[in-house]
């Protein structure tokens, strides 16, 4: 999964520069799609809520999407390896404007099982692959 961080890279660009950047992004996306590399991808809107505490008692506005860390969109990539995924991330045209791309391998089962081998795995045995399916594009 590629997480695109830093949503306000367009600040300070002229209309022409922005047009050029958007064209490059669309071309980049189209090429990946033609090669069957994209299992799902969406931009996220600029506002949201952050829920925490027992029974989710705290509901606050956030995250602040003008920060460099905020996630502005995601792409579920069909990659051959982590290196392959990194290569795709490196070809993202808006990196030059200051965004960053977090590359995270998707797992069939929760990593908690790796840390706690004593846990019974019945929740994921067999059905695990079907349980965690990719969201449709």
């Amino acid at each position: 999964m590629l997480l695109f961080r830093g949503g306000h890279w367009d600040r300070g660009l002229s209309t022409d520069e922005l047009q050029h950047a958007m064209d490059k992004v669309m071309t980049w996306f189209g090429r990946l799609n033609e090669r069957g590399k994209i299992k799902g991808a969406q931009p996220l809107s600029g506002h949201g809520r952050v829920i925490s505490g027992t029974d989710g008692r705290f509901v606050v506005d956030g995250p602040f999407t003008e920060t460099k860390e905020a996630v502005g969109g995601y792409l579920v990539l069909q990659a051959d390896s982590l290196d392959d995924a990194i290569g795709v991330a490196q070809s993202m045209p808006t990196l030059r404007y200051g965004i960053s791309v977090e590359v995270r391998p998707i797992l069939a089962q929760c990593p908690i099982f790796q840390r706690h081998p004593e846990l019974v795995r019945r929740a994921t045995d067999g059905a695990g692959e079907q349980l965690w399916v990719a969201a449709a594009a």
Binding site: G48, R96, L131
Partner: protein
């Protein structure tokens, strides 16, 4: 396409914090994990969750022109790190928030970010506001 709103009824739940299991007994962890899976299956059966994934704890962060910088990250143990996600298809934000509040990890410090999925990239949206009609493809 999007005359009155740029958003759809789709939401992403981002689960943050991957150290909630610290200090819990195996039985407690087992219960949280089982509850989490049951929660996921129920939402899927109800048609409210279209999919989801846990993410491997360590990955890479790519930045700089041509992605010249490739750093390890995010840091494996963090309250901020994203550990997984659900893709929700629900009526509105309130329903998405209600579902987020059912997350079994909340009690142990997990944080759930609720983000509406946009059908138009916000950069495109802003570009249209700056210069209506000037950006080719912006109304796609």
């Amino acid at each position: 396409m999007s005359t009155s709103s740029e958003t759809t009824a789709d939401y992403l739940l981002l689960f943050r914090g991957n150290i909630w299991d610290r200090g819990l007994s195996p039985a407690q962890i087992q219960k949280v994990v089982a509850d989490w899976m049951a929660w996921f299956e129920r939402l899927k059966t109800e048609g409210k969750c279209l999919g989801g994934h846990p993410l491997e704890e360590e990955g890479k962060v790519v930045s700089g022109k041509q992605g010249r910088m490739v750093a390890d990250g995010p840091f494996a143990e963090s309250k901020e790190a994203i550990g997984g996600y659900f893709y929700l298809h629900v009526a509105d934000e309130n329903e998405a928030i209600e579902i987020a509040r059912q997350c079994p990890g909340l009690e142990y410090g997990a944080v759930v970010e609720v983000r509406s999925v946009a059908d138009v990239c916000s950069i495109k949206q802003r570009a249209m506001e700056y210069s209506p009609g000037q950006l080719a493809g912006a109304t796609a």
